[in-house]
Symmetry: C2
Subunit: 308 residues, 2 copies
């Protein structure tokens, strides 16, 4: 049993990571500003600090804590939304990481795992993108993620084992079905269920690498076992390319009705296509996905229909 | 004749760029917080706004201006100092760029030139480093510079021609001889003149690419002629590798006395060795250095002795 800080536990991924840690008998503290998350989502037993991770007055509350590890997941999580207020995005997605790394250094916490994103890559050639690809961010969100990764590299010099997980398109039960600007699977599924109509902003030929939430949680937990005092950046990806068209066909396959379809417009900062090379994470963490897209989507559609 | 905003004109590089623009009959506005710069250094004729470029209240003063171009040079300029207050560094070196790019977008300014740094590269193999090398920043300063470059890439989508100049070790008359934590040539020269003793924090085998201030100003002016609405990142480098040992020998050669020497300690975030590939800037801007290291150092030592 150990004590962890998992920021953003009122959100989709943070709550799933916190829950698994609690279930294994650990103590979990979270910081969340509830800007997109909901208090009810925070798993039972988690100590909740309401506030922004980019505010030093919030971080100071932990100056006397002992933490086994910091898992930083909080942050504005949409490339599209980052165009609304780029300065806020820099603060929530980069300044926050800096303050939390300084906290780790101050209190002698030796492990730090960060939720980065495949968005750091921007447009890449049509092949699995590996971690050593040049980063070509297209959104303010992605700029902050890169800055955070660079902070992790610097703090690894101070004896902290830092892992940056570049999450590809995460989906699954628990995803926010109300935010129609974040999460490709949840956006399409929410539209299908609520309006019986799916409006795709962009080409049906765009493609993504879809990773199921439980597999993502596994990647976080395995990162917590690293002890080498080094910085590592790892794709959390399946290596499988799924087009928007194929994704929607599969979603519809598990729905008990047939939504109408519309393709028009585009999304600022959107990547055309990206999927990940997953060799490094297998080598470093022994991680590979356990859930197929069909299994994952079936579970998610079922959950969404039950919770609408 | 046109109107330019040149931030940081109370500093070494900013004042040199502003002076050249004024001499060619242009109008120049500057923003400077005088944190390390001096008001007297601002060239005559420049309109001075005292403040931080990361403060929206300062930037708002230009909301009704018409500007031919924005040249953003202001910012904390030392990798070493960035370890003192990393959050301030993020604000001065990244948030400032974001606000100035938004200003350009708002007022229809179509050109933006940014003073980036060779520090974005971190440790690289012992060969001329080209612009497509992977960035491995070792200081908080360098993290902010990378974030700024990424902002420039994003804003080029909005019809702004953006150029990021990765300045290698700039030296020459006008360099701050009082800040002993910034500028390799000025640090050694100031020590030699003031204490007749040079204390080198780090190995004598470290190496750098030394670029003379007048050549650097040329690179800025040539960047102002770009009109392609694209983002370009360019090394401002000679392609010549100079070791710390050789640099000090040359400085001493032009001094009328012989300083004593001491090698001990190290500098946080310091790169061991770096020199730049200068092919791209020749292709894109037709730029190549006009001053040899001997000519440049002779002029600088002469200036420093006259102004001590």
């Amino acid at each position: 049993m150990a004590r962890y800080l998992v920021t953003g536990s009122a959100g989709f991924i943070g709550s799933a990571v916190a829950r698994r840690l609690i279930e294994s008998g650990n103590e979990v503290i979270t910081i969340d500003n509830l800007s997109t998350g909901h208090k009810e989502i925070i798993p039972k037993g988690v100590t909740f600090i309401h506030g922004n991770c980019q505010d030093i007055s919030v971080i100071e509350k932990l100056y006397t804590s002992r933490l086994e590890a910091i898992v930083h997941i909080a942050g504005q999580s949409s490339g599209e939304i980052s165009f609304d207020d780029p300065v806020y995005d820099l603060q929530t997605n980069a300044q926050s990481t800096l303050l939390l790394l300084k906290l780790a250094q101050k209190i002698g916490c030796k492990k730090f795992v960060y939720a980065s994103s495949m968005s750091v890559y921007g447009e890449q050639p049509d092949r699995p993108t590996a971690e050593d690809a040049i980063t070509l961010p297209k959104s303010f969100y992605a700029v902050g993620k890169i800055a955070s990764e660079n902070y992790l590299r610097i703090f690894s010099q101070f004896g902290i084992t830092t892992t940056s997980l570049r999450l590809f398109n995460v989906y699954g039960p628990g995803q926010n079905m109300e935010n129609l600007r974040q999460g490709m699977v949840s956006i399409f599924l929410a539209q299908a269920i609520n309006q019986k109509h799916i409006h795709v902003k962009g080409s049906k030929d765009r493609y993504r690498d879809l990773v199921y939430i439980e597999d993502v949680v596994d990647a976080f937990l395995r990162s917590l076992d690293r002890v080498d005092n080094e910085f590592n950046v790892l794709n959390v990806a399946t290596g499988i390319k799924t087009t928007v068209e194929k994704l929607i066909l599969k979603i519809c396959q598990y729905l008990p009705f047939k939504p109408t379809m519309e393709y028009s417009g585009s999304t600022p900062g959107d990547q055309f296509g990206i999927y990940g090379d997953s060799i490094k994470i297998l080598q470093v963490l022994g991680w590979k996905p356990r859930y197929s897209l069909d299994d994952g989507l079936r579970a998610m559609v079922e959950w969404a229909l039950q919770n609408k």
